[in-house]
């Protein structure tokens, strides 16, 4: 975008870019530094010694995988229905879903908590998975419907003429075309579910059911505040996420752009 004539302006741009990323880099560096304060690697040993590290990672992975699976299936079928099938009062249903997009998690927490207690689902992962999916689905349906609308109806009509039924059209014609938007759905749902904090904090109190975002809180309580332990826990939960992101950097970026751009 910026034209660079000659060395001086090129160095100028490089400097500007470097200055801009410093504030983004600094907190990461501070966190890493702080996590080695005091006991050094001992802080990490301390986190490991809580004995819950494998458990919280497994639980977070289960929650993320289940949420992604539910969101993916529900989003794809609904987007197909909204975009390509006849539905009585279609836009009314669609708007009803869109309104849910604006509902903040904190708002429906009380009733969700009461519901979970009533159904005896308190301290079960499903009490986190289902609300997470419900909160995610309006957004993913919105972006998926946009994408499905871009698939020409002629392709579908052609398949119908060849004798495919509605389900076959979905399975054999439409789904294979939806790779980019599937990546978007998976990326957004993965970030949302892996990073969720409020729902797990409220619904999962049993130590064997907790998730990665709750790990730092093992080192803070009303009476103690083990800062280095907290930071080591934070780094331990952040590193796998950063690795996953770097490994799939292109898919992340493409997925997110595919979701927001039409």
């Amino acid at each position: 975008m910026f034209e660079t004539h000659g060395r001086a302006s090129r160095i100028g741009l490089q400097l500007l870019a470097t200055l801009m990323i410093l504030p983004f880099l600094a907190p990461l560096v501070f966190g890493l530094q702080g996590s080695f304060g005091g006991l050094g690697l001992g802080n990490y040993a301390k986190v490991w010694d809580t004995g819950v590290v494998p458990t919280v990672f497994i639980n977070s992975a289960i929650i993320a995988v289940c949420t992604i699976a539910i969101v993916y299936v529900i989003t794809m079928t609904a987007a197909y229905g909204f975009s390509k099938l006849r539905i009585f009062g279609r836009e009314v249903w669609f708007w009803a879903l869109l309104v849910a997009l604006t509902v903040p998690e904190a708002v429906i927490l009380t009733p969700l908590f009461v519901m979970a207690s009533n159904f005896d689902l308190y301290d079960e992962l499903v009490a986190v998975i289902l609300p997470l999916a419900a909160l995610q689905v309006p957004f993913t349906i919105l972006i998926a419907r946009n994408f499905f609308d871009g698939i020409p109806n002629q392709i579908i009509e052609a398949a119908r003429v060849d004798g495919a039924n509605v389900a076959q059209v979905f399975w054999m014609v439409v789904l294979p075309l939806t790779r980019p938007i599937a990546a978007a759905i998976i990326v957004f749902t993965l970030i949302g579910s892996w990073n969720s904090y409020l729902l797990p904090m409220l619904m999962l109190t049993d130590r064997s059911k907790q998730v990665v975002t709750l790990l730092p809180s093992y080192f803070t309580s009303q009476y103690t505040n083990d800062q280095t332990g907290v930071l080591a826990a934070a780094v331990m939960t952040a590193v796998p996420v950063i690795i996953v992101y770097l490994a799939f950097q292109k898919s992340f970026e493409r997925g997110i752009s595919a979701g927001a751009l039409k």
Binding site: E3, R10, T77, L85, A106, V137, L142, Y245, F252
Partner: protein, 318 residues
Amino acid sequence: MRPVSTAPARETLGRPVDSTGRPGSSSSPLGSRFAGVPWILPAVVLVIGLIYFPIGFLGYTSTLDWNGFILSTPEPIGDANYEEMLGDPVFWGALQHTVVFYVITFSVQTLVGFTFAALMHSRILLSNVYKAIVFIPVVLAPATMAPVFRQTFDQFGPFNGLLNAIGLGDLTRPWLADPTTAMPVVMFITVWQWTGLTFILYYAAMSQLNPEILEAARVDGASSFRVLRSIVWPLCRGTTAVLAVLGLIGALKTFDIPYLVTRGGPNHATEFLGTLVYFTMAQEKHFGYAATLAMALLVLAVTGGVLLRMSTRRSEDG
């Protein structure tokens, strides 16, 4: 509420485009009047069961004086909770914080994200590393980063250390304990976290601009700044509109960062509606009033989303 984008963005990502170029055509080719119902049913059931039902429950609870324990008897008190809310300075404060927070974080994110996207489309060494650093905060949990920021802005934390080192020792203070600086810190953290998303979307939008237009402007003698301001920025309008809507919804949903970093304090200086609802419910056990606040937040979120959507759609058409 559909994400929108600029016209050039349409032929994107090798995706098939409707020959009319207008997605969302109203004619559905398939099936009888109800053919699609089973397909949308799971989504509708999930959202009604876990979002609409709770909202209905809230609407009912907001007319009660109830401490939330199943065994205790709630007492119906009509609209007393709503009256209490309208006279509650903390509620109005939270509302004001949300507005200021939205305007500032959205502006800064847009400015930084847009500039950075333009830079990454110029010839910059190590641009992949730069891009990754700006985007990493998006994938990190606020809950993971909150302890880091609490430490960073502590009285004896690295930020004050940095100020001392560069001779600005006079500015050092306990940033999170000072009511005048706690909110700027919360905004900084938000910008830190979400600029990567702004950047990625502008970056993608810019990749789809027609290079010939930019070339033509340059041949006519336009400066880089001029090209960005008068050509690239207007062509990215659709992206800006999407981000404005996402930002508004995000601002109203703000919870994790103020809850984890400042606990809404000091003295409600970083109170948002989300944190207020939560504290009223979880700490004060004042479920009826929490539900009332939640209803207010809900009404705001829905109206805000609809209004902003309408206004951005108009600016798109015009």
